[in-house]
């Protein structure tokens, strides 16, 4: 069952790393696997699992203060997603929120980083709309107004995950001048306190255990202590590759889980399953090729070059495509048993669809790659 893992960190030499992995594997295969259906069907928000993962060190491995091990962070996310895609997504939210806090260099946010990295506090990310806005795909939804000591923010942001009262998330708002024109953007940590209204979002067909809300802000105040970046654009340019690269762990986790499901039924269904395409060996080969490339990219997430960003966008796209194919194939391999409401293969298909449409979706990734590759000519 324990087939080769695509995302294997280059050097899990240290005892500490080994212990971390053993612990993540134990949590993912044990308590998390048992909760997967409650998360999927009842929308259970598994903060107890997140706390365990934090304690094991799985939520902060990528931080510079912990050695900047993106390979370990990705491998941990893969292991979690292998059991439950929703929880894998929570790990990504927590990871990138930690990335914002650390890269902000804001002492007030750095002071909160240790608790965040250890899963004692939780925070997500509301960058779906801003990322698309900065790429020119849609408009920025939150508006900021400069006031003494900070900014006042208004507007509403749909679909923000891994938040709840007492938690927080990264967010971006367009700063408006008095005449309503926009000067620049700011990025801040939004603390979900009494001034922030959380409203329910319509139910999705999957990923319901991710505590996803619409945020309504009405003159919400952000002071110095909450600012991640002002202006936001250079900051986003710096962290964007790392932000997207980390998502790859969710995709490879779903592929790994699908391979598990295909192989699980090989003894009983192998005699008919060999008539299927996208057989485990094919998926495994692509999985390993992609995994190797992701591990290379994980060595230098702040490379900053256009070529590096293109490589990351390409790997993220390929991961989403492969996850769609692998999850579909796993269901074909398992047949009716995989189609049961309680079965992992049908759940993973919905999780893979999410990976393919969450920002940046496959179409956004291709839009961005085309934009980056288009030769710039004088106007």
């Amino acid at each position: 069952m324990n087939s080769a893992v695509a995302l294997s960190p280059s050097s899990v030499a240290g005892l500490a790393d080994e212990r971390l992995f053993a612990e993540v594997r134990r949590i993912a295969a044990g308590p998390l696997a048992q909760l997967a259906n409650r998360i999927d069907h009842e929308g259970h928000y598994p903060l107890e699992i997140m706390a365990q993962l934090g304690e094991a060190g799985a939520l902060g491995a990528h931080l510079q203060c912990r050695g900047g091990r993106y390979d370990i962070a990705l491998a941990a996310m893969q292991e979690v997603s292998r059991s439950c895609g929703s929880t894998g997504f929570l790990v990504w939210c927590q990871d990138v929120c930690g990335l914002y806090m650390e890269q902000s260099d804001n002492p007030a946010l750095l002071a909160r980083l240790s608790d965040h990295a250890q899963g004692r506090t939780f925070g997500g990310t509301g960058l779906s709309n801003p990322m698309k806005a900065l790429a020119g795909i849609e408009n920025m939804l939150l508006r900021a107004r400069k006031v003494p000591g900070g900014y006042r923010i208004s507007g509403s942001l749909p679909w923000v995950s891994h938040i709840a009262p007492g938690q927080y998330c990264g967010a971006i708002a367009a700063v408006e001048r008095d005449d309503g024109s926009r000067s620049h953007e700011i990025m801040f940590l939004l603390d979900i306190d009494a001034c922030v209204e959380l409203r329910a979002c319509p139910a999705f067909s999957g990923m319901e255990g991710t505590s996803t809300w619409r945020i309504q802000l009405d003159d919400y105040f952000v002071g110095e202590d909450g600012l991640i970046a002002d202006p936001a654009r250079p900051f986003i340019a710096r962290i964007r590759a790392a932000f997207i690269l980390l998502q790859a762990g969710m995709a490879t986790g779903l592929v790994q889980g699908s391979l598990d499901s295909m192989r699980e039924v090989e003894p009983v269904l192998g005699h008919v399953n060999h008539f299927l395409h996208d057989r485990p060996e094919e998926i495994q080969a692509e999985f390993e090729e992609l995994g190797g490339r992701i591990m290379q990219l994980a060595r230098n997430p702040f490379d900053g070059s256009k070529d590096y960003l293109l490589d990351v966008l390409d790997a993220r796209t390929q991961g989403a495509e492969l996850a769609l194919r692998a999850t579909q194939s796993a269901l074909m391999h398992q047949g009716a048993r995989g189609y049961l409401r309680s079965a992992a293969p049908q759940r993973r298909m919905r999780e893979a669809q999410f990976i393919a449409i969450v920002t940046p979706a496959i179409k956004h990734l291709r839009w961005e790659m085309a934009r980056l590759m288009k030769e710039e000519l004088p106007a």
Binding site: L141, D314, R366, A370, L377
Partner: protein
Amino acid sequence: MSDMTRAWRQFICRACGLIYDEELGDPDSGLAPGTRFEDIPDDWECPLCGVTKLDFEPYVRREAAPAATVAVGPRGTGIVVVGAGLAGWATVEALRELDAEVPITLVSACRGDRYHKPELSLALSRGLTAESLVRETAAAAARRLGVRLYSETFVVGLSPALHQLRTTRGTLGYTRLVLAQGARPALPAVLPPALCWRVNDLAGWGGLQAQLARGPQRIAIVGAGMVGCELAEDFARAGHRVVLLDRQPQPLGRLLPEPATRRLRQSQAELGIDYRGEVDVTAVSVLADGGKCIETRCGQRLVVDQIVAATGLVTDPRLARQAGLAFDQGIRVDPLSLRTSAEDIHALGDCISLDGAPCRFIEPIGRQARAIAQALLGGDGGDYRHSVPVIRLKTRSLPIELHGTPCADGQWRVVSENDDYLLMEQRVAGHTTSTLRVGQASAA
């Protein structure tokens, strides 16, 4: 009252894209058909994502995405050719000559229309446009040759082990792959792409031509190599004021011996081209009136309307690097088979290097394409014989022809010389290795 006469409007949710149509209303949330947007209560919520009225804005229909040609049908196996320049189309033609049936897919970053690239060096003074240079549209050529065409599609990833090519319009499998991706202008950092034109493809030339069509202008060409010298003459003949800048004391100074470059400079001066040698551009900026300012290390300050960079070409190494293909100034290919270091991947044209040297001329491309087609379809192959092409400069006022490969520090010798004609040669170990003809040999 006015409501009855005003046209119905539409508003779009900025968050989820739902469109509220005043004419239809939203009966499910209690808004009767005909409810004006301003009459919607403030606490009304988007029926899809739940944001409020404040997050709606007037809906302006976006222009449809520019129509790119994208093949329909299975994306399976077959031969995939990357690049629809001369080399890509030559490959397709050569393949079709040998096999009418084999599935061929052509992926092009641009529209992929067929034109003869060398003409770009002469087209302005002939009054041509980007449209008139097109000999056959990509769509027509694809139909004629039975090719699945993906135009305006960028190749972003290549995994030889999986026989998988990833593009901005999806992933393609291939049985055999031919890379004809070309080379791109090598722009030094001091020449920003937003301010400097490059004449390396039809789109780049067409953009510049559209600007120059507005009337005589001041043009600075940075780089007096072959392309720079050809363009300088073409632009000057078209009535523009051309200044040509290079680090070398004379135009084409890196390639030709001094007696030849002196004649070339003289000929350029007669056309009104202002050659400035031994200059190093240090900054380029835009002036308030839209003019462009060039500053040089030696303190010159030039103001022109257009800047053209002719600073050479490089092969983009990203794809080769990602795919693990051997790369040395270009994608390394076997000199006989034109195969890259990977199984089932060949390459030709401007993107390759042979023994570490690129060869960016037109002449070898047809032979390379036929050799590859033979290798892919005929079973054997390996029949390409590279020979250094004859270089003919498209400088009509002073034809220049160079045979062989001159050695940078070799000695040139004048064979014969008069006012209109110069013949020189370079000899190594008693053999003539290159011959140079400058000007018109008079009927002697």
